[in-house]
Amino acid sequence: MKPRAVAAACCLLLLTAGQDPAAARYIARPPPNLLPLGYQPPANTDEAGLWYEADQVEQKFRTSPALVRDPALNAYVKGVVCKLVPDRCDAVRIYILDVPYFNASMFPNGAMQVWTGLLTRIHSEAQLGFVLGHEISHYTHRHTINQWRLIRDTSGFLAFFTLASAPFTMGLGGLAASAIALGGIQGYSRDEEREADAAGLELAIKAGYDPNEAASIWKAQGDEEKADPLTDKDFAYFRTHPESDERMQTLSRAAAKAEGTEPIWIRNEEAFHAATAPFRASWLDANLALGKYEASLCLLRRLATEEPDSAQVRYYIGEVHRRRNGKGDAENAVAAYRQAIEHGTGVPTAVWRGLGIVAMKTGDKATARDAFTHYLAAAPSANDRAMVELYLSRVQEQNP
């Protein structure tokens, strides 16, 4: 039997096994080669060499300007890790990196990178728990050494760590290019991703996280992929991971099996929002700066559904329309800005600026004057005050 077929059969077994009364009754049987606690590879092995390379990348994480060092956010994410794998709480080291794409990845030495683009796109601690559980499962199942041995004799190995450390070595453009180089290992990797899905869900369920939250990650991600007409199919995450639709369906079936077996499933949406709220405006700014407006709109519309009272989300919807500046965008931007303003509390000051700009460009001078005046009053020390005053003078001159 081919390796891929073996892995697929294993995956099927994992998804249907049900002999253990605790976690395994839901999803999986622990595989025989889990990484032992406190494991260090013997010095004369290829695995030791791999760990050495991972140590070098981890050192880059520690000194990277992209590293998010906020103690509270790091403590929160680390806390979720410790809920998932209490016995490996110290072994798994988290590095949150300010990169606006959806990704997290685990290294064989226990280091894990979590990109802020992932935290922007999920909405509960249960979802975070599933993603982290998935990545930890790559570590505990020693997937990386398996992959390394498969690809080390091919050109793919050149991209192996390059991709992992991409935010520090290549920037986002290089990341996509490297992703293409990784295409050669996608078949094998996808099987391991399926296995990590199953094992990650098991960890999340053991921690009491709502299993239904897992599938919704992939539904949202699938929607975003479909909305983006340009590049995401070239991006490493989607070339090396199973299709979102497939994952969503698989995880939905697994969640259905677990449904009702726990008296109260944990979602912890409030805790997740409290931990991430101080950073979300800058994360959304970074998302919009990618210029993938259709994907951004897909994300923001979902956030608007999940957070019907969020003025911030509506402001960013207005921003996407303003920046895209296509047919109908001016009207949609104004509508979104006005919805944000109508929420009354938590309205970003910049909403007035955005509204003024769109109104100025569409010739609605009265609205532009009112919006710019409001902005200058609300943000008297804004660093673009002189520019907005110039805009204001232009709309006043045009209609004295």
Binding site: G171, G173, R323
Partner: protein
């Protein structure tokens, strides 16, 4: 045989120099940087073509350490950076009806495609561009290698084209070292 040897030697020299060709920009002399824009600097610079941005680069200590970039005469439908034709559709391009905010976002967006990360802009304000009403803004970003850079842009929209002068250098030491000189270059703009 002598001609062949000279050609080979020339080719080798070009390879050794990275194929970049430099020319001297003299100090204290008005220099045409395109689209009818002239500037004067109190120091001399080395001039080269930018590998990634659609313009001419002046540098004092080397393009990686300080760069004064002139992107002039950008017309409707053109980006600010050089980019592969097949992927051009991914880029935001200049439109004549853009306002200063749009131009600032255009630069940010285009820089993201070069591979620069965490690009942040601030202090957008009106500024003279010669006799024309222009604008300027600051930016910070990380290079592909993770080096923290600072920059300052002076721009103007004249007719249907955009002229932009961008100074960027590593935030530590180099930016501040040439910033006063660049400020005088900005003040020297003569745009016809």
């Amino acid at each position: 045989m002598k001609i062949l040897r000279s050609l080979v030697l020339g080719a080798v020299m070009a390879m050794l120099s990275g194929c970049a060709t430099y020319s001297l920009v003299p100090a204290n002399k008005a220099v045409d940087v395109g689209n009818g824009v002239k500037v004067t600097s109190e120091i001399s610079w080395a001039k080269e073509e930018s590998p990634s941005i659609s313009g001419t680069v002046w540098t004092a200590d080397g393009g990686e350490l300080d760069a004064l970039i002139f992107v002039t005469g950008v017309s409707e439908g053109k980006p600010l950076i050089k980019f592969d034709g097949a992927r051009l559709k991914e880029l935001r391009v200049y439109k004549a009806d853009m306002i200063p905010d749009d131009v600032m976002e255009l630069l940010t967006s285009n820089f993201g495609h070069i591979g620069y990360d965490q690009i942040k802009t601030a202090n957008l304000k009106p500024a003279p561009f010669g006799a024309t009403q222009g604008f300027r803004f600051d930016l910070d970003f990380l290079t592909k290698e993770g080096l923290a850079m600072k920059g300052e842009a002076l721009a103007a929209q004249r007719g249907k084209t955009l002229d932009l002068i961008l100074y960027m250098a590593p935030g530590e030491y180099y930016y501040d070292h040439y910033a006063p000189t660049v400020e005088k270059v900005f003040s020297s703009v003569d745009a016809k």
